[in-house]
């Protein structure tokens, strides 16, 4: 196996690409009781148009299929459910779907091998019937309604819709009650056969493991598969411009909440990994310098009661989209946006404050190191970054190379007023 070592966090990653195309990543963590694993496929909510290998026709699927499939994978032909089987082993099993991948996972202290057996068995053996698909619509319907009652989710999705005209990131991961009503077992099998091939998947382990031995255990449990052709994913053309600057929805909240979004260009696709990472680090530094806890703007906003606490700052990107999202709570979100834009202008016309820059950079370094304490966090991070074509260690390797000059350049390129949107959830008055 290939060994990648990081001397700063003092961890090693063992990586192997198997003959069938599956990538396996293992990070041994001595003295930790918990063992964690994820098996993920590069199939998420935005992959809803594609040409399957060896086919000519395009397939277009209802919104929410990746997530629906995640729910149904646990069902077994003998009537049992793998979630029950894993739970009976004393193992904590789960699954989740994002925009670009679906993950099956468990964490355990004992019974690792029997749990590995079960997880690898159910992910490789789908079993869908008309009946079990119908029943799931009720459960997922309640999951969708649960999200409908979360103002945080509504405000985020509205921000996506303000930024993206065509990109499927603007649809809910779980779909809608209407869209899932169209899902049947045929579409599930079709997507399973297309996307659940080892060459489209990655496995990640963290815990007290011997990597070579573990790799053998994985190999033993892999079914033989035919070589898979290329999956052609079709994404609609997305204009550089935003859809609309502003949206307001009313819900029962005690105080308005907002997401400020800045749509970024998609040249990420053509960048190498290190340059994407550097850009990400620079944006994190900039966001913290602009509106983070020690910034002048934060102080002004807090003292004038325009915000109630630290806003949540994030740069989200995949191969298909990239944007900044700033989430917070305010009695006057539009004024927060105005002040932020003034601050961006000021920052653009001044030199970068070097002391501030260094401090934030150190803070970000600390945040990266902290990610390596929790085996669950490690697996999720390596899998999510893998889907973007990135190795997570790259953040710690590259942080030194992010200079004030480069950061200034990113500020000028990305923090564009024309591409800035705001989504607001206001109090309803009943």
């Amino acid at each position: 196996m290939q060994i990648i070592e990081n001397s700063k966090v003092k961890e090693k990653l063992y990586v192997e690409k198997l003959e069938n195309g599956l990538t396996v990543m293992i990070m041994p963590k001595a003295n930790i009781q918990k063992k964690y694993m994820i098996w993920a496929t590069n199939f998420g909510s935005i992959d809803n148009r594609f040409i399957a290998p060896n086919e000519k026709e395009e397939t277009s699927i209802p919104d929410g299929v990746a997530h629906f499939l995640e729910h149904k994978m646990f069902e077994q032909p003998n009537g049992t459910n793998s979630l029950d089987t894993l739970t009976a082993l004393g193992v904590n099993a789960n699954a989740y779907t994002t925009t670009d991948h679906t993950s099956y996972l468990f964490e355990c202290t004992d019974n690792f091998i029997p749990a590995l057996d079960e997880l690898m068995d159910y992910v490789q053996n789908p079993y869908f019937t008309d009946e079990n698909v119908e029943k799931e619509k009720g459960i997922i319907g309640q999951e969708i309604k649960m999200y409908d009652d979360y103002p945080q989710w509504a405000v985020y999705m509205n921000a996506m819709r303000n930024m993206y005209k065509n990109n499927p990131i603007k649809i809910d991961i779980a779909g809608t009650i209407e869209s899932i009503s169209k899902i049947d077992k045929e579409v599930l099998y079709k997507c399973y056969n297309t996307f659940y091939h080892p060459s489209n998947m990655v496995m990640c382990f963290a815990g007290d493991f011997e990597p070579e031995k573990l790799l053998e255990e994985v190999k033993k449990r892999l079914k033989s598969t035919e070589k898979h052709g290329e999956i052609k994913r079709i994404y609609p053309e997305e204009p550089g411009e935003i859809v609309k600057k502003e949206s307001v929805q009313k819900m029962e909240v005690s105080m308005p909440i907002f997401v400020i979004g800045i749509k970024d260009s998609l040249d990420n696709k053509n960048c190498n990994n290190d340059s994407i990472i550097k850009k990400h680090i620079a944006i994190e530094i900039l966001l913290n310098m602009l509106i983070g806890k020690s910034s002048k703007l934060y102080k002004d906003l807090y003292e004038s009661e325009l915000i109630t606490g630290e806003p949540y700052l994030e740069y989200e990107f995949s191969k298909q989209y990239a944007h900044i999202a700033i989430t917070g709570q305010s009695n006057n979100p539009k004024q927060v946006l105005e002040k932020l834009q003034e601050e961006i202008k000021k920052m653009k016309s001044n030199e970068i404050d070097l002391e501030h820059f260094k401090r934030i950079k150190n803070m970000i370094y600390g945040n990266y190191v902290k990610e390596y304490d929790d085996v669950a966090e490690i697996c999720r991070m390596f899998v999510a970054d893998y889907m973007k074509g990135i190795n997570s260690f790259g953040y710690i390797e590259n942080y030194k190379q992010v200079t004030p000059e480069y950061t200034k350049q990113v500020l000028n390129e990305v923090f564009n007023e024309e591409k800035t949107v705001i989504s607001i959830i206001e109090k309803c008055t009943n």
Partner: protein, 426 residues
């Protein structure tokens, strides 16, 4: 032993968890006092004011800069309801010195900063700074008003409030808006001084401190030297004190702007024996905590009524709370299915396998407590407040020793106290 407790003075303890598993060191200070209506609001306000400035770092900005300079150390403050106590919590997490890009001694700096935040606030004319108190009163007001923002939690808190009307546990941990109005920089500072003289104080350090004696740093810190010994008045949190009376089931339906109904059912456990809490844990796992539980299997998997359907055991109060998010029109159906599950438990309709699975579930949970610094601290603090220390291994043994008869006995003594339903505005 990697876990050492020392009494600094009467009512004040340090707790040291030595471990080299983590890249961070975690420091925590807890001030615990009995929960009551008179002081709940001021106690919620105090941490919010303290984090605004210390005598040395006078503004939030200065504190933030100091934290950023420590490679992004994080300071967290808050209040928690721990049974019939209210605990003010202060955490500071830093990188372990081993993982710094340049050699530095962060641990000492970190604990001193945290001690300053709790014990050495910025004052003006022997009061808190007025500006900070005024501003944080608004913050707490918003938190109280913000109760409604998370509908699941709102429903859960409302059910507890109805079950514990006019009792300490029914209080909201952030207090009450009408009480906030009475607080100012003067009386809040008096309350704070009283709190420092009366609260049970526990200081936790977890991590790898090399050769430094971090406990000495605490003992010799002027803030700690200045504290007086105190009579510890906190309420010992044990299930044995929770005598339940059979009550008529109260049913409450409340309309709000929701698309999904939130059902919460509060159960009384009218039973206590030494160590019965282990059997209660298992009863709860079988009923509704795990994916093989009766709730998950019957409400979600068989009936397809819910996505989320589970139960929680609140040891300190000898209660179980069942929670489910359901279609509003399915209320009757869901309540009936849940009642059937309780009946089945009473009639012993659970298998040996259910018990074994529940034991494995609990044991895995306990083992992994030690994999996270904050959950390990929370575990030991819970033991501290219950007045007896049980190590992880003993805990696991006691779980494994539970018999079917013990679970049966609990099942027969469980009664519904309150059925609360949050539904839509009609």
């Amino acid at each position: 032993m990697p876990y050492k407790i020392q009494e600094v003075k009467r009512g004040i303890k340090t707790h040291m968890i030595e471990t080299n598993k983590f890249k961070t060191n975690l420091f925590a200070i807890f001030l615990s006092v009995p929960l009551n209506r008179e002081s709940v609001t001021q106690n919620a306000l105090i941490p919010a004011v303290l984090r605004r400035g210390t005598a040395n770092l006078k503004t939030q900005e200065e504190i933030s800069i100091a934290l950023e300079n420590m490679y992004g150390a994080t300071l967290d403050c808050g209040v928690e309801k721990t049974g019939d106590n209210q605990t003010l919590k202060f955490y500071l997490e830093t990188l372990n010195d081993t993982f710094l890009p340049e050699q530095e001694n962060l641990s000492k700096k970190a604990i001193e900063l945290l001690l300053d935040v709790v014990f050495n606030p910025l004052t003006e004319n022997r009061n808190f700074k007025k500006e900070y108190v005024d501003s944080e009163k608004k913050t707490i007001k918003r938190l109280i008003e913000g109760k409604i923002d998370n509908k699941d939690m709102y429903a859960y808190n409302r059910c507890i409030e109805e079950m514990y009307k006019n009792k300490p546990y029914g209080l909201y941990k952030y207090g009450y808006i009408e009480d906030l109005d009475k607080l100012d920089e003067k009386n809040l500072y008096e309350d704070y001084k009283k709190l420092l003289n009366e609260a049970k104080i526990d200081i936790f350090v977890s991590g790898n401190f090399g050769n430094d004696d971090i406990i000495d740093v605490i003992n010799e810190n002027i803030n700690i030297v200045n504290l007086k010994p105190r009579e510890d008045k906190h309420i010992i949190n044990t299930e044995e004190k929770e005598k339940k009376e059979k009550v008529e089931v109260q049913t409450i339906q409340e309309p709000k702007d929701v698309t999904q109904g939130k059902l919460v059912i509060g159960l009384d456990i009218d039973f206590y024996e030494p160590d019965s809490k282990y059997a209660m844990c298992l009863y709860n796992v079988i009923l509704g905590e795990s994916a093989t539980s009766k709730m998950f299997q019957n409400v979600r998997e068989k009936a397809g009524l819910a996505y989320s359907a589970r139960s929680t055991y609140v040891r300190q109060k000898n209660n179980i709370f069942i929670r489910a998010g359901i279609e509003i029109s399915n209320y009757e159906k869901a309540v009936n299915i849940i009642k059937e599950q309780l009946e089945d438990m009473k009639n012993g309709k659970f298998t040996e396998e259910d018990i074994e699975n529940a034991k494995k579930y609990m044991v895995a949970g306990i083992k992994t407590v030690q994999d996270e610094q904050d959950s390990e601290i929370t575990y030991y603090m819970g033991q501290e407040l219950s007045g007896k220390l049980i190590y992880f291994e003993d805990y696991i043994n006691k779980i494994n020793d539970v018999t079917r008869e013990q679970i049966d006995q609990i099942a027969k003594n469980i009664n519904i106290n309150t059925i609360y339903f949050l539904k839509n505005n009609e």
